[in-house]
């Protein structure tokens, strides 16, 4: 059984730690306490009591500020290496009456500088969407440092912090850059199987009846006038050819070259999937069968993100003609070596 399960009920909900001013305050309390004992001066006892009470009241008010705050943070589904990814969290104050003051969302960083998002106040029953971006430099699995809710309210003497959230593993896809149609044509090798398909291109594909939510700019006024009913244009996808992205070589020799090649493969995949084309990925130990849409793009990007030239399966033979399920497709070849 998970040991965490046992400890969860006993784990404090929040941690508390003195700030630099807090340490000074504690030192002064100790010093004055010693002085009070040695002099027997009751006014010194009174000042010691004042400082101790200030510490207690500080704890009560900071607890009041943190209590009832609910933080729901999430990472984006797709993170690309080297590109800022937008993270978001919703902070809700579920207390019935009391406003939470001076709350900070700490964006922890491994080996880097922690960043802060500060909320001077959050009224009872309200929530706030907090967003920030983060750039992960390389593809693959990454452990996020996470975020946590903290407050130094009211006196700045103690830092009260909630548990770290979002300290989970995320998958970073290879960097993706825009691919122009000309560049794609240059990269394309042989292939057939052209199919017309709806998409976001410039050529007319079809006319159909208007539905709520359609872009009014797509209304075909002349045809609408003829049939006395609103008709909208459907455009043809720019690229309609299903494509096989072939990774040739294993990429063991030059890591920089490997990363550039994987980035290129990812860019082509993203471009084609967005255009509505079917994409298949083959390579040393890699095979993602033909498919289309965002889901397919994600599958291929995942494979590319996790590709390790030293993994045993990377030594497997390339998927090629004669293999089971082989279809003739237009091919884009990307050299890993």
């Amino acid at each position: 059984m998970d040991s965490e399960w046992w400890w969860r009920p006993f784990r404090p909900r929040r941690t508390i730690w003195p700030t630099r001013d807090g340490w000074w305050c504690l030192f002064v309390v100790i010093g004055l306490g010693v002085a009070a004992i040695n002099t027997g001066n009751n006014l010194l006892y009174l000042l010691v009591s004042l400082l101790l009470s200030l510490i207690v009241v500080s704890g009560v008010l900071s607890e009041q500020s943190m209590r009832g705050l609910r933080l729901e943070a999430d990472a984006p589904e797709e993170i690309y290496a080297g590109a800022p990814a937008l993270f978001g969290a919703v902070l809700a104050n579920s207390k019935r009456w009391l406003t939470s003051y001076s709350v900070t969302l700490e964006l922890l960083a491994r080996g880097g500088r922690t960043r802060f998002i500060y909320l001077p106040r959050l009224e009872a029953g309200r929530d706030r969407l907090l967003t920030w971006d983060e750039t992960l430099p390389a593809r693959g699995r990454h452990r996020l440092a996470g975020v946590r809710l903290t407050t130094r309210f009211p006196f700045g003497l103690f830092l009260k912090a909630g548990h770290v959230m979002l300290d989970r593993e995320v998958l970073v896809f290879p960097a993706v850059r825009p691919i122009s149609p000309e560049e794609l044509l240059r990269l394309v090798g042989a292939g057939t199987s052209a199919v017309r398909r709806r998409g976001r291109g410039h050529d007319l594909y079809n006319l159909r009846a208007y539905r709520a939510g359609d872009d009014p700019r797509l209304i075909h006024w002349r045809s609408s006038a003829k049939v006395e009913s609103l008709l909208v244009r459907e455009m043809e996808a720019e690229t309609t050819e299903d494509t096989r992205v072939v990774l040739s070589g294993r990429g063991e020799r030059d890591a920089a070259r490997l990363e550039a090649a994987l980035s290129e493969a990812a860019s082509i995949t993203a471009h084609l999937a967005r255009a509505g084309a079917g994409v298949e990925l083959t390579g040393a130990g890699l095979f993602v069968p033909l498919g289309r849409g965002p889901g397919q793009a994600r599958r291929i990007l995942t494979e590319l993100a996790l590709y390790d030239p030293r993994a045993p399966e990377a030594g497997a033979a390339e998927f090629g003609p004669g293999a089971r399920g082989w279809r003739s497709l237009r091919e884009v070849r990307v050299e890993l070596d």
Binding site: D21, T39, L43, L47, L50, V57, Y101, A212
Partner: protein
């Protein structure tokens, strides 16, 4: 008001509160206060024009170095005590922070350093005004800390002042109310902690060798007329409380507060001659046992709070039998004078005294005039060369007496009725002071009366000595204690008689001459009663008091337990009483569990969803269309549109209004609300 300006203002006020504490403790005189006020004003002005008129760094550093050198010299050579030197250093550091303010940190440091002014003042003051400075400091300090925290956090996160001032920082802002509540909570909690922190320490360190002012007249040597300067001072120096209920304390006989006794007279000066002195041992209860009560008068317990007056004397109602005092040792001499070296020990003590009664009990018959006296009485019969007419006058007054006691009474009566009390003590002739008093001026203060009677008693062979102390003082009905003022400083006479021993006589007609207490104004009495409570419950709070409170709480708890058992028995007597009690207990438990159940907060958060949208969801749910837990409102609207196109317009309208109300914070106009009601009705109808 901009947040930074408010923070500066509060910090300056905090510094002023600290300065007030120093002034209260006598650590800052009027000149120092004026210089400090000028410096603070200067720092404020410089801060205003700092950006327009930058100060050359060299010039600034030169001033700092010069000031630091001056402070070092002061600390090492000039300051009256280490504490005074430290206070000067502290003020220098605060002013340095204020003059060279570059960031919020400097303001915070100045505020923190101000706290140490309070610490310094606490070492040497017992004044109740410290309480008011303490409260002011607490309120200002709390607000300063909160304000500093908010401004610095905003600064760090680059939020800017716009967000900060959303809730405002003025006296009506919620943040200010929180600050006041925090100050009140801190004060209450500090009060509780103050009373429960165990007083286990020993007073071994003293910041200053002397506390308070030093008054002449309470030393081993008293010159005739020396009390004159303090007999007009209205300052209350001693408060005497009777911890055990005493019926009508104003009627207690011969109540005076005896200090030092003097046996040697040179014609002008009374002083204590060579005498036996020795430390007094503590008994098993920890109290100092002085003498065994003789059983001739009432035993009265007094709790005495004495302001530091710079004298070693311990003032007690004669005849003191037992003293409880926080002193390592006390010294008793053979004239019954008690002294304690530690100033702090004399601030509060409790005495059991056996009061004298008039006439004294146990008076034995003695020949008159006295035939002989024991050798040890010789020092009390010592006389300087006197003009012959003084003993002659004594003999004349005491003529016809049947006993020494009667002779003493005659002398007492003679002086108190034939002479007048005055504080105007100008020498009118070239005679000795006593001779001038008895034969020329015929008026004087208590010292002249006491000296005259003692000399006249001695000249007729009755051992006598002069005693210095205080008169009884004025009764404060609001605090139930005697207020003894400086003007109550007094001298009287003690004469020795076979049987009762030393008996007090007060020949001075002072009480009759003095007007009724002029300060019997209610406000003044209330304020002095507050001061008394401050001394009693704060300045002199001790382990013994703590034990007393704990014992009374224990007694209270025992009584409460008894009443609880009685309540249990009565509950048993009621049919079904236990069932009702258990039901109430279960209801309370269920309510608390529900309140703290997981998701309780979410229910509250759900309340933020507009009511009309919840009603729409319920109407759709009744028709089997339920919103998924992960579905957004817009996705749900799309699904409804595809599944049931008839509901599409109403659901789209409701969804748009929901999004605007919940996330756009827009309020609905009456027309929009009516349209939504219509959409809801359409959903229900179909």
């Amino acid at each position: 008001m901009p947040a930074l300006l408010a923070l500066r203002l509060i910090t300056y006020l905090l510094v002023c509160a600290g300065v007030a504490a120093l002034a209260l403790a006598g650590l800052l005189g009027p000149v120092g206060g004026a210089i400090l006020a000028l410096a603070l004003t200067g720092s404020w002005v410089i801060d205003q024009v700092r950006n327009r008129m930058p100060v050359r760094p060299f010039f600034a550093w030169a001033i700092v170095v010069a000031a630091a050198a001056a402070i070092a010299v002061d600390l090492l050579y000039l300051a009256q005590s280490l504490l005074d030197g430290m206070v000067h250093l502290l003020l220098f550091l605060i002013l340095l922070r204020l003059f060279r303010r570059r960031s919020l940190k400097d303001l915070r440091d100045a505020g923190f350093l101000s706290f140490f002014m309070l610490v310094a003042a606490s070492a040497v003051t017992f004044n109740v005004s410290f309480l008011f400075v303490f409260i002011a400091f607490l309120v200002l300090g709390t607000w300063m800390l909160i304000l500093h925290h908010i401004v610095s956090e905003s600064d760090q996160a680059k939020t800017g002042a716009t967000d900060l001032t959303v809730g405002g920082i003025g006296p009506r802002s919620p943040l200010f109310r929180i600050s006041l509540a925090a100050a009140a909570g801190t004060f209450a909690l500090a009060g509780v902690m103050f009373f429960i922190i165990p007083r286990v320490g020993q007073a071994t360190i003293h910041f200053r060798p002397e506390l308070g002012r030093r008054i002449s007249g309470f030393t081993d040597r008293v010159e005739l007329g020396a009390y004159g300067e303090i007999e007009t001072d209205q300052t209350v120096v001693m408060r005497v409380h009777f911890p055990e209920s005493v019926t009508d304390p104003e009627r207690l006989p011969n109540l005076r507060w005896r200090g030092l006794a003097f046996d040697r007279f040179d014609g002008r000066i009374w002083e204590a001659g060579p005498r036996r002195r020795g430390p007094v041992r503590r008994d098993l209860s920890g109290a100092f046992r002085l003498v065994e009560p003789r059983g001739t008068g009432p035993i009265v317990r007094q709790e005495i709070f004495l302001d530091p007056i710079g004298a070693d004397a311990v003032f007690v109602a004669p005849q003191a039998a037992r003293i409880e005092m926080r002193a390592g040792s006390i010294v008793l001499d053979d004239m019954g004078s008690i002294t304690a070296a530690a100033t702090s020990a004399r601030l509060q003590y409790t005495v059991d005294s056996e009061l004298e009664v008039t006439p004294p009990r146990g008076l034995r018959d003695a020949p008159w005039p006295p035939v002989s006296q024991p050798p040890e009485a010789a020092r009390y019969l010592q006389l300087p060369p006197l003009p012959e007419r003084i003993p002659a006058l004594a003999r004349e007054v005491t003529a016809g007496s049947r006993s020494p006691y009667e002779a003493a009474l005659k002398l007492n009566h003679y002086l108190s009725t034939r002479f007048t009390y005055t504080l105007v003590l100008k020498q009118q002739t070239k005679l000795d002071p006593l001779e001038e008093f008895l034969f020329a001026r015929r008026s004087g203060n208590c010292e002249y009366f006491a000296a005259a009677m003692a000399v006249m008693l001695r000249s007729v062979g009755i051992p006598a000595r002069v005693v210095g102390g205080f008169q009884r003082g004025d009764w404060n009905p609001y605090g139930a204690y005697f207020m003894v003022r400086m003007k109550d400083a007094h001298s009287w006479v003690e004469a020795f008689f076979d049987g009762p021993g030393w008996v007090s006589f007060d020949p001075s007609p002072r009480a009759a001459a003095e007007e009724a207490f002029g300060g019997r104004r209610t406000a003044a009495l209330y304020f002095d009663a507050l001061r008394m409570r401050w001394y009693r419950h704060v300045i002199n709070w001790s382990l013994r008091d703590q034990v007393g409170v704990a014992a009374s709480m224990h007694r209270g708890a025992s009584e409460w337990r008894g009443s609880l058992l009685g309540w249990r028995d009565s509950l048993r007597a009621v049919p079904g009483g236990w069932v009702v009690a258990m039901a109430v207990l279960m209801l309370v438990t269920a309510w608390m569990l529900r309140r703290h159940a997981p998701g309780a907060g979410r229910r509250v958060a759900a309340a933020a969803v507009p009511r009309f949208y919840l009603q729409a969801l319920r109407a759709l749910a009744r028709r089997g269309i339920r919103r998924g837990s992960t579905e957004t409102a817009r996705e749900f609207s799309g699904r409804v549109e595809r599944a049931t196109p008839a509901f599409a317009p109403a659901v789209a309208r409701l969804t748009a209004a929901y999004e605007r109300c919940r996330f756009g914070e827009g309020a609905l106009s009456p027309e929009e609300a009516a349209a939504l009601d219509a959409s809801l009705a359409a959903l229900r109808r179909r």
